[in-house]
Every structure is written in C-alpha cells, then in structure tokens.
Symmetry: C2
Subunit: 333 residues, 2 copies
C-alpha cells in the first residue's frame, strides 16, 4: 500500500491529482485546522495521501506560514543539562505542542561569534537559552527571531526570562544550618563569571549574615566532581567549619567522597554538607546530600507556556521566578 520507493518525492500535487481535486482543496483537507472542504472530497484526499504515503514538507510549509515549529535549545555543553529529568520533560512538553527541538551546542564564546558570522542557524520560532555564553541580543540576532527565552540570567528588557528564585532555597538551607547550631561555614563555588553564580554567592553571603554565620573559607571550583575533590583538600585535619555549602551537587559529591576516604565510617560526618541542584543522583544511597532544588514541572510548564504564547510577554516584564526549596538528606537533616 505504501510507496517506500521515493521518500519525500510525493508532493501535494500528486495527492490532489490522485484524488481528482485541486491543490488548494487538497491543502485544506490536509490541514489540521477546520477549513471549508466537502466531506467526500476530504475523504478522497486523505485516502490518496495515505495511499501515496504523503507527508507535508514542513519546510516548504513554513515558507508561507512563517512558522517552522522549531524551537532552538542553546547550551554550552550537554553537561549544562546536568538535570536530565528537567531536559527530558522539556522536550516532551515542547513536542506535545507540536514543535520540534533543535539542539545547539555552542561550547565557547568564540563559537557563538562563529555562528553569528556564518549564520549557521535556522529561523526558529523561539530559542531557549541555557548557555551563559550568549546574551539576549546576540541570540536574537543569531536566530533572526525576537522570541528568545533566557534561562541563564542574561536577559534584557526585550526578552522574557525564567529563573529559579535561588535566594529562597538558599535562605532555607542556611536557616537549617543555623537552627542546628552552625556558626561558621565554608562556601565552594563555580566560575564566578556567570551572572547566575554571582547572584547565588551573594545570596549565600546575605543569608550567612542574616543568621550570624561566619564565612570562614571560600573556595573556587568549576561545578565538577573533580573540583569538589580538590576543594576537599583545603580542609585540613579537624579544620572543618560547621557546614560546607556547595553551589553544585557534583562538587558536594566530590567533597563527600574525599571525606569518606579520610574518615571511614564517619557518616553523616563532622560537618553539615549542602549541595545545589537536587540531582536525581542524590536519591542513590551513596550520595545522600541535602540540596536545593525546584519543581521541574513548574519550570517546564512556564517555559512551554512562554514558547506557545509569546504575545503574553511585554517588554520590561520581570523574570518569572520559580521558587526553590531546601531538601534535607542525611548530610543535613
């Protein structure tokens, strides 16, 4: 029944001819929207399309409709998507709205500029920006679209933004430490060139001050497990503050592992340990690290809403904030 032979070769003209109608009628019959076509012709068209194995060419379609049903997701590396659950949900929901996801890995600032020069980019309906290598204006130019949704904190007044309200969860975590008698803490951070990271660090400092906790040590890592390992070395024998706060779960995992090695059986350990991101990995027994996270489905539904209803955004609107919360686990419970 199906003609596998020449994929992509069958056009709407073929369908129309086989159904004995004009191209216009075929187009209407094939449209998902309700359009004026008589019932019998619609059926003939549908039958002919099935018979031929016809599939509209979305590209040609978008040339007239001005919508490609393509959403770009811009990341530095795939590891930006440390949260696979979030990403999985995002793709599923985006697809559910009839749009496809095109994944753009920029890797470096230089790469952004290269994309800009070479114009290696589609005219997408919207762009979702996780990468902190690009600001809103750059991305708008990259994709020739004004519909850029910033998730990296580098938005401007022309582009909508969605971001976790990190201050809230950080406040809760620090309050937890204070409530357990912690008076001195260390902070292990990521690259402080990122705006998000800067804000995060500021939130911790503010919360420490609010709760009368002294920041005794601040160590710079790069979010990775290995940098957590390295950071752990900075705490000499019995030289631990009451709590260690990390701006990524991976770093907290590195610290936990080094500490376990040094002091076997010392679990939950001689300090309270707090991560950040609430990776699903933390539900594995080996890494019962208290963390800070937010409701992923809220984040995703806000994002998808923004994709499908761009008109709901007005220039100058403040970012949509997703509340974060402290999630206690064995390292701080």
């Amino acid at each position: 029944m199906k003609h596998d032979a020449a994929p992509g070769k069958i056009t709407i003209a073929d369908v129309a001819r086989l159904a004995g109608v004009s191209k216009a009628v075929a187009s209407r019959a094939l449209s998902p929207e309700p359009r004026p076509v008589s019932a019998d012709k619609r059926e003939r068209v549908l039958a002919a399309a099935a018979e031929l194995g016809f599939r509209v060419n979305l590209l040609a379609q978008s040339l007239t409709t001005k919508t490609v049903n393509l959403v770009a997701v811009v990341v530095n590396h795939i590891h930006d998507l440390s949260d696979l659950d979030l990403f999985d949900l995002l793709i599923a929901e985006t697809q559910a709205t009839g749009k496809q996801v095109i994944l753009l890995r920029v890797g470096s600032v230089a790469k952004v500029e290269e994309f800009l020069r070479q114009g290696v980019a589609y005219h997408v309906d919207a762009a979702l920006v996780f990468s902190d290598f690009a600001d809103a204006a750059t991305v708008r130019q990259m994709f020739r679209t004004n519909h850029v949704i910033m998730l990296n904190g580098r938005h401007d007044r022309l582009s909508p933004a969605i971001m976790p309200d990190e201050a809230q969860g950080i406040g809760e975590a620090v309050a937890d430490a204070a409530a357990h008698g912690v008076t001195a803490a260390a902070l292990v951070t990521g690259r402080s060139t990122s705006l998000v990271e800067q804000a995060r660090i500021a939130s911790y400092r503010k919360a420490f001050k609010r709760h009368g906790i002294t920041l005794t040590k601040s160590i710079q890592g790069d979010y990775s497990y290995l940098s957590g390992h390295a950071a752990a070395a900075e705490f000499g024998e019995g030289n631990f503050p009451g709590a260690i706060f990390c701006t990524s779960d991976a770093m907290a995992m590195g610290i936990l592992d080094v500490h376990r090695m040094q002091f076997p059986g010392d679990r939950p350990g001689r300090f309270r340990l707090y991560g950040f991101d609430n990776l699903s990995l933390l539900d594995f027994d080996a890494y019962p690290i208290a963390s800070i996270g937010y409701d992923k489905s809220t984040f995703v539904s806000e994002t998808v809403r923004m994709i499908s209803h761009p008109e709901s955004f007005e220039a100058g609107r403040p970012p949509v904030l997703i509340p974060t919360h402290f999630i206690p686990r064995a390292t701080a419970s």
Copy 2:
C-alpha cells in the same frame, strides 16, 4: 550599524538592491562555495549584507538545494543518552560538519505511530536512531529519507548500522572472572524485548559456558538503579555467587549500595561485580565498578562519517562494529 528591528525580514533581494546587483549575484557572493562573482561586486554584496544584518533563510534555501543540513536524533527518553559524553561529542562533531541536530523523543511505540500518522517530522538529511522503539523501515518513512543510521540493532539491509561489538568486552570480563577463580555467576538483565539486550545476554551465556562458569541466577531488571536495588534483595545471606554481571552500570550501582548497607566495610565485597556502559560516574569514588565500554570518539567519528558520506554505504553491508573492552575497577581488579 545592524538593524535589529525586523529580524528575518531582510531578504537577499534587499541585499542585492543595496549592493546594486541582481539577486543571483548576491546569492553567489554569499555562498560559502566558490562561485563566479567579480571581486568588487562580492565585496559590495558582503558589505550590504553586513549592513542590513542579513542572514539567509536556510529553509527557503533548502527548498531548492534539497538539503536541509538537519540531522534527526531519535531517542526513547533522554536517559537513553545515559552517556552524556558520547552525546556531547556526537553533537559537537555533527555541528562541525555544518549540520544541526534535531532531537526527537519518542517515549513509546505508540508515539512512533503517532508521529507516523501526523507526519510531525521534517525532511531531514539523515536520522540517527538510538531508540529501540523504531525499526529502520519505520524511521525511513517517518522522515521521508532513505538515509537512516541505526544504532539500536534494528537495522535491515537498506540501512547502515553502527554498534558496539559487545561480545568482545563481555568475553574479556567473563575471562577476568574465570581467571580469579569464579565458577558460579549471576546475571542481572534489562528488558529482554530489546534486540541488543537479547544479544548481550546470549553473549554472557556463551562466555560462561566457554569458561566453565555456571549461571546460578538470572534476574530481570529494567536498567535502572532502583531495579538494581530490587535485584540485590534476591541474594540472601551468604548466598552470593562468585560474580554478578549486570547489563547496565546503574543496576550494578544499586546492587553495590544495597550490599554496602548490609555489610558495612565489606569493600570490595564478597563477590566480584561487573557493570556495563562504563559511565563516567564510575570514576567517582563511591562507585568503583568494573565495567565494559568502548571508545566513544571512534563510535562518533564512524557515525559522523556515515552522515556526511551516505554514498559510502551499499545495501546489505554488515554493521560497523566498535570493539568493546573490559575496564577493571575496585569491584573486579
């Protein structure tokens, strides 16, 4: 200098007009390929394009060139890409060839059929299939392309395939166990509906036989950490075989955690433990699990080669095999 105002509104006609040349000349000047244009006109065109902030509409372009520079990657869930390093490399290399990646999450067999019916798919240049929900013929129809690269073992003679040669690494792992005096082993598997998994299981059985190892227990999981947890329960007190082989690292992690809980300090443990996939997570101290893996860059470069040189494949060719190897770690060293 740049006109941010109307993104995507500037066409090659505008550029041609400003440069005082015909559309055809502008098109040639803007082409990455060397095409006949006088030097001064080329410069005027380039200047005009920069001035206007022009970017070609790849969609319109592809309508005539018949190539969209779009590669589809088909997965069940994002978690299929358990190996983020592999995926990251794949995207980077694909982009380096000037093509973009469109990510299609199918989630279920039903979803495949829905895509097929609704035709929610592009006419891509090539499709890479990780998902085991779809066979080659289905994917060819989904994307209206004959260029489908199967990575899930469900290839036919019309489509090229690339797959790890799992038998090799499995043989090495089982040989390692035998060399350490193991005579009885258990096998923890994933869904056996997958062809790849069936082949994997068969390889283990064959290797066991070859080395005179008795398979005392076979437990079915679903590749997940939790199913590893559940599987661990099946080994009662002191009821351990010499070795436990898992067809995924995540299951091995679950087993290791349960075992550590039951017998604290019993490390490396009373049995040899082997995972599968060689996740980068295994380099974290908490999960020093011996595993089976392959060289990612080889896999990726073969895949990308197949994308850019489809003509190099002839119907009926056997799959490209990427050798796998045993990677010893604390649980089996």
